[in-house]
């Protein structure tokens, strides 16, 4: 399923759409094109980008992780509670704790899926509500409010380095790590092979079960990290935190060209998918569209992008029957 030229074209198309969108909104409201607003959009997109990198690893293996938002909220709550109980915990320990808890929750997903040969969608549907309920059990239903959230957690996303908030640096680091893993590391390349054809991957000697569990564990670890950042950024932890966010994460992947059927997707595409959602969400209030539209627009965008994707796929399949010029036109349309 890997294709040489078409992902590149698709990404440039996305870049074009995002730039056009930003310019169009900026023409109506110049405030949209300021550095300040770009930072806002970057900040808003950073957590989504971290989650999308994890989700992408899972999608590549033909799986899906619906529990990311619950994992994020549970880890965020546990870290907030831990920091409240032991104020002496230094930030690096908290970050490691978040990654470890998230990875543990992700490992449970991967293990259930691998060990019992269960469909990922159902397992993560189950853990989605199980983890969500565990937040309530852990916190007794109480909120961890602004003044109770540890200053170190609150400070983490706000600190700046070289003029950029740490939140953006964290996202950038995760994106670079994902890029390295998927482009140059054997383990990452094996994820593509596994998603493209699981049985062939098994015969080719790829340790399929281990890679599956790896993908879910990494996805969980990133969700945990995102949980700590989320709690810090909004300085609150409660049971319904980020409820329903898993759909946004999957939407960003789909818009960015990561196939739900496995084996197809690039880091750059996924990042562009995140930026696309970030720009749209940033633009709505600026051009005075009610926030109620946000979800409807997100849904429409997902549908349009999957339909366009399907069309591109079909043209590729028919190329033998068409003249090259016509095929080129069709694919770029």
């Amino acid at each position: 399923m890997t294709k040489s030229s078409s992902p590149l074209r698709r990404e440039w198309l996305l870049v074009g759409i995002i730039v056009l969108l930003a310019l169009a909104v900026g023409a109506r409201a110049p405030v949209f094109l300021t550095w300040r607003n770009a930072l806002d959009i970057g900040n808003d997109s950073a957590i989504l980008a971290i989650l999308v990198m994890g989700q992408m690893l899972v999608l590549l293996t033909r799986g899906v992780d619906l529990s990311v938002a619950s994992n994020l909220a549970l880890t965020g709550m546990l870290c907030a509670l831990a920091a409240k109980a032991w104020p002496a915990l230094p930030l690096p320990v908290l970050v490691m704790l978040a990654c470890a808890i998230g990875a543990g929750l992700g490992f449970v997903n991967g293990w259930l899926i691998m060990r019992f040969q269960l469909p990922a969608i159902v397992v993560t549907l189950g853990t989605m509500s199980a983890y969500r309920g565990a937040i309530f059990v852990a916190s007794g239903g109480a909120w961890v409010n602004d003044h109770q959230v540890h200053p170190a957690i609150k400070g983490l996303p706000r600190d700046t380095l070289l003029g950029l908030p740490m939140l953006i640096w964290c996202a950038a680091a995760v994106v670079v790590l994902a890029l390295v893993l998927l482009r140059w590391r054997r383990e990452g390349r094996e994820l593509y092979a596994l998603g493209g054809n699981p049985s062939a991957a098994l015969y080719a000697g790829i340790p399929v079960p281990r890679r599956l569990v790896m993908a879910y564990t990494l996805c969980g670890a990133l969700a945990g990290l995102a949980g700590l950042l989320w709690v810090g950024r909004y300085s609150i932890a409660f049971t319904e935190l980020a409820a329903g966010y898993e759909l946004t994460v999957i939407a960003a992947c789909v818009i960015g060209g990561v196939s739900i059927g496995g084996g197809v997707g690039t880091v750059s595409g996924a990042v562009l998918g995140v930026l696309f959602i970030g720009v749209i969400n940033g633009a709505l209030p600026v051009i005075q569209v009610s926030p109620f539209w946000q979800q409807a627009i997100a849904g429409a965008v997902i549908l349009v992008s999957v339909v366009l994707n399907a069309r591109a796929d079909r043209h590729r399949g028919r190329q033998i029957l068409e003249r090259p010029a016509a095929a080129m036109q069709g694919a770029s349309a």
Binding site: A251, A296, L303, V307
Partner: protein
């Protein structure tokens, strides 16, 4: 039809265990009124689970089904505000549900898209549209008849006061019978299994696979409309968050009922039993003052347990055989 296959027997035993166990522990749990009450918990969800079961058997899924309910209820509310009589309101709800289902079906069959992606998209779209139109308002003032359908019992209607079976539950039983006969007793039902097991082979053996898929999505939309009418009548209002998250409950019921998520296997008897099990179980937890979110945690764990258990048993059996 093997109505009581192994898994269905397990479900039946679990239902008995719930009623006996909680009946011994909770005062009044086994009173006829409480039992009748416990069915409210389940009837509307089971209606959409029936449609979901057909879809999953055919290898598809519809995550937008609860959002469709919100839109159907919304359309009904608008019809009422425009002064339409009850039959017109119902027709408007049905048409809205069918239209939502038809859009899903069209996207899946015309563009060859995986239904999970399509319906994640339409879930956002339908739910978002309901929010755009309603904002944070609610529509109230539905006619008395709707409230009777949602809250009344059969006995009230036919004048036999001791017959306290809720109307909603009867609607569910009739729907389950119809869907069950369709799936297990007609050639169309057999074809759904074939499509779920191997769509390509089904296509080559002359089954109009896409037409069946499209029809199933429209049917899911219609069932969502029916469930929406009952739910709106029961709670007496239309809100943008109507039936929020119910798509997951419906999927849970279907999986717990023994329908294989990869398609091609499952029964309506199992689906209904799973719905009753889940409904009575959460009703009992509610009587014990367990909060909703903990309930959903237990349901999530149940869902995983329901899948792991049979495979674990099969595994042990092969190891020791």
């Amino acid at each position: 039809m093997k109505a009581l296959d192994t898994w269905e027997r397990v479900l039946l035993a679990l239902i008995v265990a719930v009623y006996v166990g909680f009946g011994a522990g909770i005062d009044g749990f086994l009173s006829p009124y409480a039992v009748a009450d416990s069915t409210y918990n389940v009837s509307e969800k089971a209606l959409i689970a029936l449609a979901m079961a057909l879809l999953v058997v055919a290898g598809e899924i519809d995550l937008s089904i609860a959002a469709t309910m919100a839109l159907a209820s919304l359309a009904m509310g608008f019809a009422m505000k425009a002064g339409a009589p009850l039959p017109v309101m119902l027709a408007v709800a049905a048409v809205t549900g069918a239209a939502c289902g038809a859009l899903n079906g069209w996207l899946v069959t015309r563009w060859k898209l995986p239904s999970i992606v399509v319906t994640i998209g339409t879930l956002s779209l339908y739910r978002g549209l309901a929010q755009v139109v309603l904002g944070d308002q609610a529509i109230t003032g539905y006619p008395e008849t709707l409230s009777t359908w949602g809250n009344g019992s059969v006995g009230d209607v036919i004048g036999v006061p001791w017959l306290i079976v809720p109307i909603e539950f009867v609607v569910l039983l009739v729907a389950a019978l119809a869907v069950g006969l369709f799936l297990h007793r007609t050639v169309h039902g057999r074809r759904l299994y074939a499509i779920g097991a191997n769509p390509v082979a089904s296509r080559f053996s002359g089954i109009a696979v896409d037409r069946y898929r499209f029809g199933l999505f429209v049917f899911a939309g219609l069932m969502a409309a029916l469930a929406a009418v009952l739910l709106t009548g029961r709670i007496g209002s239309t809100r943008p968050n109507l039936a929020m998250g119910w798509e997951l409950d419906a999927v849970t019921i279907v999986i717990l009922g023994g329908v294989a998520i990869e398609g091609g296997r499952g029964s309506i008897v199992g689906t209904v039993l799973a719905a009753v099990l889940l409904g009575s179980f959460t009703f009992a937890l509610g009587m014990l003052n367990v909060s909703g979110i903990v309930m959903s945690m237990i349901v999530g764990a149940l869902l995983i347990g329901a899948m792991v258990l049979p495979r674990g048993v099969r595994h042990l059996r092969t190891r020791f055989a």
